[in-house]
Structure formats: C-alpha cells, structure tokens
Symmetry: D2
Subunit: 338 residues, 4 copies
C-alpha cells in the first residue's frame, strides 16, 4: 500500500491523504480499483481523526483505494470553500486515475456529521458528483447547518434527478445532530426516486464512527457497527464488484420504475401510463385480454409497474417486448408522480 | 413445544395458533417467556402462510413463545373487526398468561404489509397495546390503506405518546406497497419521540418475509434477511433479555430526553429548559461556572441535554444531582418541541 | 406447522416428535423438504430438553422438517438399543416420506454429547445412514464412551468409506467431555477422505447447545453460537438448497480427489497415478509437453491432482478430456493413500 | 496512519513494512496498541502480495498496528534464516515499542502456507515468542516442510509448554497443502494444553487469504471469510481488548485446568489429584460430605476439575478457598496427563 500526502490548498490547510492498493500482478484481474473518499466530521471546526483512518481502513480491506480529505475549517470554511475543496480533491484523483489505477466511474464518498453535510452537498451539487455517497449521522437541515456553518445550504432541498445513490445511517438517540436530519435526507431522496438505503439504529449518541468499541464509550446498540459491512455490500449492489476476472456490473438499476425515462415503457407504473391516451390505446390493442387499468386500485396503482402486472397475469415475453417497443415511441413528458 | 389451535371468532374465521415453549426444569431461571404475536399480511384478502410459521420460528428459536393471528378478511374485515380480533387474541393470551408462562409485560407483535397495518394500529390504538411492534413493509398511509380496506385508519396519524417502540423495515423498491408508507410511520414516531429503529434496504420487491431464499424469488439485497436477527437484538434493547438467572432489564430507556416528563429535569434539552425562567435561574445559581445557554447554538441546542452539556464541561455528579432535584420541583407544561 | 408425538417403543419409552412444515400452496416450488433429526444428549441417562426444541427450531426456520428422537436410557440403553431406536425413527420417517413431504435423500442428524455419540454411530454404522451428520461436543472415544454406556463402540474407529459428511464442533475447554473426542473423529474422517467441517471454539464448558444466552451461564466465546448458522450453510454445500424453483444441487462433491474412485481419472493425485505404469504411459503420451511427475515435490505431490497441475500448465480442456477417458479405462485398485 | 519501510537484511532482501495508527488525542485512552505481524506465504519461493496488505488491513481496522515481514527466500532461506528474520523483526519492533506506541505484551503473528510454517515456528521456538499466533492453511509436517524448505523443522513436534495460543484454520479440500498439516498442529496443541481455536471449512482450495471475492476464484464455502473476524474476536479473548478507558484484560485464561501449575490446586482435575495421597487426604478432611473420587467415572474423570465437581455439589466458596490453599502447599510434579 502506498501512501501519499498532498496539499490541495496551502492557505486553507486543505490536504488529501491517499492510500493506494496494488493492482495487477498477483491481484489478477484487478487492473483498476474503485475508490472511497472519506470526509471526517467536526462541525466545520476540526476534522476528526476518529472518522479518518478508522473509516478508510475497512474500505481498503474490501479492495477500495481510499482517500481522506481534510477540508477548510472555521474562518476558512465560508461556503462554498469546503465544496470547492471536495471538487479539487476529485480533480486531482481524476487527473491521477491512470497512475493510481482508479476506476473513475466508481468513486464514492463517505462523510460524517458536518462531513456528512459536505458529502451530501457533493452528491447533490458538486462539479464532480460521486458515484455513490454514504452519509453518517449527517447535518442536513438548514437550521442545523446554520449552527455549524452559516450560509451553507440545506442538502435535502438540493436533491435533484442527478443525485447519486445514497446510504444514510444514524442513531435515533443522537444527542447532538437530531436524527430528523437523516430522515429529511431520506424523504427527499425518496421523493426524487434516487436509489437509497437507510439504517436508523435504536440507540447511540453522536459520533460513533465505525462502531468499534476501541474508540467509543459503551452505551449503544451493538448492531450499529453493521453499517460498515452493509455499506460495502450496498456499494456492490449499486456500483458493481471486484473479481479476479475484473469488475462486475451492479446487481440493480437506480430507478424504481420507468416514470422518469425519456419515453414511456413497460416499466412505467400503471398510474403513470393511464395519463397518456396513446399508451392506454396501445395497451388495449396489444394486450386485449387484460384490463390493467380496471384491476389496479388507486393508491397501489401508483407503484405497480405495467411489466409486473402483465407478467403476473401470464402475458408472454414477446407480447411484453412488442408493447415495450410501442410505448417507447411515446415521449414521456416527465410526469414524476409515482 | 406445545401447539394449540384456538378459534377466536367462528363466524369470522378468526383463529389463534399458539406455539408454547418449555419453562423451568432444565430451562433454569426461565419461569416465564416473552411472546411474539405474528400478524401475516395479504391485503386483508388472505393471511399469507409465508408470513406465518416462517416468521414465528426465529422468535421461537430466540426463546419467545409465538402466536399467529389469522384475522377477519374480505367482507368480514370491516374496520375495526381486525383490530378487535387482535384485542381478542390479547385478551386470551393475558387470560392464559400464568398457564402458558407468558410474561404479560413483554408481548410484542410483528406484522407484514396489511398485517403491518394491523400491527401499527395495535401499537397506536388497541385496548391492549403491545410492548413493542415490528412492522414489515407495512401499509400505513390513508390512501394506500383505502385500497385494501376502505374505512380503516391511517396508522401514522394515530401515533400518540403511548405508542409502543416500533421497528420498521422495508425495501426501497417495493413495487406494491410504496416505501413512503414506512417512511411516514418513521417520521410520525420521530415527531412523537417514540423509540424506533428503521431499516430500509436498497433493493427488493414486496412480500419478502424473512428473506430466506427458500421462499423468495432471487433479486433482492442479501442483507435484507438481517432484519430478523436485528429485530431480536432490538427487542432485547427495548424489552430486556432472557437469561439463566431470569429476565434482564432493557438496556435503554424509551425517550430521547426529559422534555416529555412530568417535571423538568437535567435530561431536558437546553432549548426546553430555556423557556422556563425558573429553570434558567436554578441553573445559573447551582452551576455559575458554565453559561449553558450562551454556548448552545440555536438548532443543535434543540437536542443537547443539560446533563450532557454539564458532564462534558466537567461538572461533578453531586452538583448534577442537586440541580436535578431542584429542576424536578418545576412542573413541565409538556413542551414537546425538541 | 403440524406436530406429531409418536411412541416408537413403549417399553423403552422411545418417542419421536415430528414438527412438519407446510409445502406447496404459497410455498411455491417446495414440494418436499429436507429433514433434521435431533438427538439430544444426557450421558445416556436422560434426554436434555435444552438440546431438543431449541435445536430443532433454527433448522425449522431454515426450512427443514424437524424430528426429535428420545431414545433408550439407563438400563434400557444396552447397546445397540439406542442405535436401533435411531433406525426405527428412520424407518418411520421413510415410511411417511410421501405423507410428510420429506425428501428421503436429504435427512440429516444432529446430536450432542452422548447424543453426538449416537449420531456418529448413525453416520458410521446404522442401517439407514443419514445424508449428513452434525456432531456437537460428541462423546467418541472408546474410553469416554465406556464411562457413559459400557459396551458401546468407539465411533471414530467405525468411520468407513460410506460414512456421511460430518460437521463437528466443540469448545476447547469442555470440562466434561474432552475436546480430544472431537479431534479423534475429525482425524478419522480426514484419514478416510470423508467430507467434513470442524469448528473448535476457544472457550466454553460442556453442553452449550445453540449458544443463546437465554439458556447458558455466561463464560464462553461469543462466536460459539455461529455453529448453528454455519451448519445450515454447510448442509446447503453438502446436500443442496431449497428454492422457489425446487431443490438445488449441492455446491460441492464429497471427495477431495479421485483416488478412491473405481477407475483412475484426471482428478486422482499425481502421487496416486505414479503408481500405475499404465497411467504414467498414458500421461506421457497425451501430454508430452509437461512432465508432471518431475515437477511434483514428494509430499505436496501427494495431494496435487493431475487436473489441477495440467490446468495450471495451460493444457487445453480437450486434451484433459481425452486423457480422462483414457485413464478411466484403468481400474483403480483402491489405493487410498493420498 | 504512518507507513515505514525498513530493510532488516539487505543481503537477504528482508524487509519490514510498518503501518502505524494514531494513539492518544482523539483516540482517548489508547496510549499503546497491540500489533499484528503478517507473514505472507509463497513456499519459501516468494512472498505473496495477496497475503500481505489484504491481511494487514482488517487488523488495522480493528485497532492493531500492523507489520508485514518479507523474509529470506530460495537460496537465502536456509533454515534458520527465516526464523532469524522473524526475530530481527521482533527485535526492531520491541526496540521501537515506545516510539511506535506498541504494547510489547500483545504482539501477535499471522502467517499463511509457508508463512504459516514460519509463524508456527515463531510460536514454538523463536527467541521472541509472539503473544498469539494465527496459522492459515499452514505447512506443518516434516514431510511437507521438506518439499518447500529442506532442513526446516516440523512445527507440530516443536510444540512445548511455552507455545503461545494458536488459531488454526484451513479448508478441508486444500489441494496443495493437505489439511492434515493443520490437524497435526491442532493435535499437538491439544496434547500440550495450549490454548487454541480451530476452524476447518468444508470446501476451498489453497491460498484463499482473507476470502474476499475480489482476490479469489469462485468455488469455496462462503463462511471461509469468517476466519478474519473470528480471529479478531479470539485475540480479544486471549489478549484482551482495547477501549476508550485503555486496554481490557483477556476474558479467559490459557489453561484448561491446573494440572500443569507449580503446585496442586482446586482447578486440577480429579484424575490428577487422585495420584497424590496427600491431596486425597486433604480433600477427605476438608470436604467430608462429598467423595469426589467415587463419583467420577474413569475417562470423564480425566477432565473434571475438582472445583467444578465441588461447586456443582453445592460446596461453599469458603471451603473451596481453604481447600485450595491447602492443595497449593503440595508440589505438582508436573503430571501432565489430563
């Protein structure tokens, strides 16, 4: 493992620490590696060592290159300085991607508390959006953000269609950053159909980092520490994995249904398709045997995909394919209600 | 293990299946056992076998007696019939508590989908509230409820101060009952400071029950199955455990802070205490060395407890105790803002 | 789940308890289920309740039918009465296999302490050998067996070529049945190339059953409890799994190499093939480019399979197949040295 | 994390890589850390990168400093050169213990294959014995050792009373280093009452290192990867843990019983005490109510400790203490039969 310590901005004391694993040779098939950029917390007043190396290490153990960003603090942190620091780090990583054998399409971030705010901003508004973001007991809400860095934005309000998949975790009894921050982020992700996973553990205070007992006072739910391995498994769901035969594709796609695609298609919900008379006609014509609009109850109809409904009714694959091709000729004016 | 099959309501085909474990004898120290009441889903149209025995079994393996409630369906399900069925089951269990060696103070429910709706209603409005509720991909929202059982209530709106601790889990890509149902429940629990834990897994369709591959089509995040053991660990956090020396107390209390207690106290948040001039005076008098109100930023101040702030500042325990006694003489007019 | 309580032998108080899960219907694809026969311990003086239901339950939760055998004890236990009880239980299960939807090819046993002795005897000398055996802190050695049931056999000495795959676990600090018993069984399995898995946990006394804290005094390694889920995963390796599309095949074969097959083949070790001049000629003829006998060091040569050596050297599959066909014409006079 | 690359022996290309974690500061209570010395395998012909960084990382994540030893190979490896390299590494680590904040009493080794041979030799014959050794699919037996490094010793034969606790793991179907090597080591540890834990997984070839799929071809039991976290938990059992309040003591002692202590005591087995007429008299005198020698069956009597037997019989603690003091006046002529 090679270590590099790079100054990104001397005036603002911004540094990037790089931990770079081997590739090729005995690591057959591993020509490049995904990367994890760690953003420690500390209320924009310090960068916590407890949320730096201890966090980088399990991702390194899982085969990720790891980077630690120490960003602008206190008087140097006037927004958007920290976000610029993040983008500067990404600029550098991308510039060295060939050198460092980084897979530029699989760079994730993990941030905690105020660093979770910065990671959430990276996910929603950076020049270089990460491929996935892990947000640990993040500061999200405007009012709470304002306590730590006046002028910095509410990250939940910034969620848009281009926001990357997010893994959000916290403890319900966080006694410094209220768990509502995490819930607001999750609610916003859900409203925009951004892929997410969320774990709110029953008990535990603020700043538990990886949950190993070596660096925490007792008094939290033991399963809290699961977020580490769960986040690694989730990254594999979202970004794909590493294997001796090279990288493997993600197991799952990002969207719940086709409602936000450019054109209509059979993975749109019935509720969405119902609004297009042309779609309704196409369905009636190609699948006369099943009145999908009649059977779907109103609310549940909002989420049932046409494909699920027709497969359940035994409609054969060729019919589904033909219908899909027909529906794809109809522009989707981006109805986003699910 | 003894099995009993009891008809609770012949006209409505309501039954309770009891699986009763041994107590005493070689099970030294286990004089009574906690119980889990399983409420399968099925859209109030059927009671799914996949959410009956397979769910009861891991709780039995963990030392719980288990009961399965098959409640009123279809035309017999007019609300509140299913809730009455639940209460009838509880009446019976409580009546037989001595017989069956059930610890009446530790009866939890677990429900799925429509059964999750019924379990959530039990948690929020039953005659016999359970001690804890586990809600699996539940139907919660009024509109969604209306698709399955018109006239039945929105369970999130019913959350009150007496609602029992809840463990809520779902998959984000549930393609039948939208994950928003679970999020709404979690948001409501959070707003009322009811103890909760929540796991929203990234991928998976509806009705995955315990997540064992034997009863599910492939295509969901492997960690989904963790909810089973996590819920068992959470129950021990909330209700306490079983040991050869008898039952052990819960590891954690239900409330995040003292803001909802009868009187003020040192576990109230600083933001809460600030509203009471009498409390402000008491603090200034007993802890002159620390101006807690000055240091607390506005939003974060909403959740920082006085006790945390003073302990962090090194105030000795005797002072804390004296201050607590003084604060407890001040009635809390139930300000519930955190 | 149906429960049946059957008397196998009234005079000797031998009973079989059957816990039978549902099949078909909502359990799509599950037409039959594998079964686990639980044999509790108790020094042939009693059948421990702690090793009965608590053990059956996790296998039920994993989708196995479960049976509990309470066998002949004390003066009724004169060998081979307990083994006859086991065979009577198997007779009954096999007779009811259609009825109870048991997959007759996947009936495993799990036994503890003296019950582990009986399970090991079932694996090595019963009329109806099980498909797999799980042996928990078993009594194995003649001297130790003699303390509990004089006249009963040493199970390790009985290991033969037909012995089923075995999963053996114990704690090193067992203060009643020495861990040497487990090691002797493992050594015997290894010597006969019988598939096995073995976990000896660092700390813990005798009789810890499933390792849940509810039924054990504290003072043992927490990972002890892993044997339960590990044994379930191992059974799937060995016997295959259950899925909604029916049973799946085992992931792995029983033998380490081809040395005990009827004829020679490319999965024999190089050391084994070297003893057959005919095999040596065939290899030289078909793979002239690689002198496998020259490169193989003496001891390691004992376990390297010809197939591994040739694949590593880049020999193409067609050549391997041709060589295999040729080797299979040579009878293997059952040299069993590896 | 600081990295240092140190040449231990330039002529023989022996190096030590040090990965040093932070102590003090935000790592409250962690003044020193335990260390893990990683010894990669490679048949004494190379040092595998797959068994270097990927192994160091999970121990770093658990809070250990990590070191990687690249030792003498090929013509430079004539025994005892590799063992001398190990001792040179330990010399250096101990010399820098204050500097590097290493707890000199908690330095463990982990070695694989040929590196497992070297680690086992360290455990049994080095100048600086480690505090614990983890042996992964080790080469142990003389004949097998001879294939890789003629003249190097059989490590199992070297097990003595001072051998450190060992954690031994392998796969049964290792097709390069036969699993018998691991079993022989375990048998030897058991015979000398050295603390051990052992996991033999059912399926998998040689050289699986940490078991992450990124660096292994498919085709092994998924639970293989558990050895990593299990070894970390076992180290905590054996060496004690790390906490924010400093290091915690080991949970368990090294010996099964008192049979190898300097004097007799109540933790000696009944079989051991029976050989001392003086002990027999002392027991009869102080505990007249219980004839421990009569009740103990011959073989099981070999392992039952007097303390267990008397506690089970309800003998009060004061009596036990008095008896212990009396027995401790009797020298133990090191009868080592259990």
């Amino acid at each position: 493992m090679r270590t590099e310590q790079i100054t990104l901005n001397g005036d603002r004391h911004v540094t990037l620490t790089a931990y770079l694993l081997g590739t090729g040779g005995e690591f057959f098939g591993i020509d490049r590696r995904p990367a994890m950029l760690v953003i420690p917390g500390g209320g924009y007043h310090f960068c916590s060592d407890r949320e730096a190396d201890p966090v980088a290490l399990p991702y390194l153990a899982a085969g990720y290159h790891a980077f630690i960003l120490r960003y602008s603090l206190n008087e140097q942190a006037a927004w958007p300085n920290p976000l610029d620091d993040y983008d500067a780090a990404m600029d550098l990583i991308l510039k060295h991607a060939d050198d460092w054998r980084v897979d530029a399409d699989r760079i994730a971030v993990v941030g905690f508390s105020a660093g979770g705010h910065l990671a959430a901003c990276a996910a929603t508004m950076a020049r270089h959006r990460p491929s996935a973001a892990i947000l640990g007991y993040p500061v999200i809400d405007g009012a709470c953000v304002n306590d730590y860095l006046p002028g910095a934005p509410d990250a939940a309000e910034a969620v848009d269609d281009r926001t990357c998949p997010c893994f959000v975790f916290a403890t319900r009894t966080d006694n410094l950053v209220p768990v509502e921050n995490s819930l607001h982020m999750v609610n916003a992700l859900c409203a925009h159909d951004i892929a997410f996973e969320s774990h709110i553990y029953g008990y535990g205070g603020h700043g538990l980092t990886t949950g190993i007992t070596a660096i925490n006072y007792p008094g939290y739910s033991a399963r809290y520490a699961n977020w580490v391995k769960d986040s690694i498994a989730w990254l594999e769901d979202v970004l794909g994995g590493l294997s001796v035969r090279g990288e493997t594709p993600p197991a799952f796609g990002p969207r719940l249904n086709g409602n936000r695609d450019e054109t209509l298609n059979i993975d749109c919900t019935i509720a969405c398709l119902k609004k297009s008379p042309e779609a309704v006609r196409a369905i009636a014509e190609l699948v006369p045997q099943k009145d999908v609009f009649k059977d779907a109850p109103s609310a549940a109809g909002h989420v049932i995909r046409l494909s699920d409904s027709l497969r359940y009714a035994g409609v054969p694959d060729e019919t589904l394919n033909a219908l899909n091709e027909r529906l794809q000729t109809i522009p989707n004016d981006r109805r986003t209600d699910k």
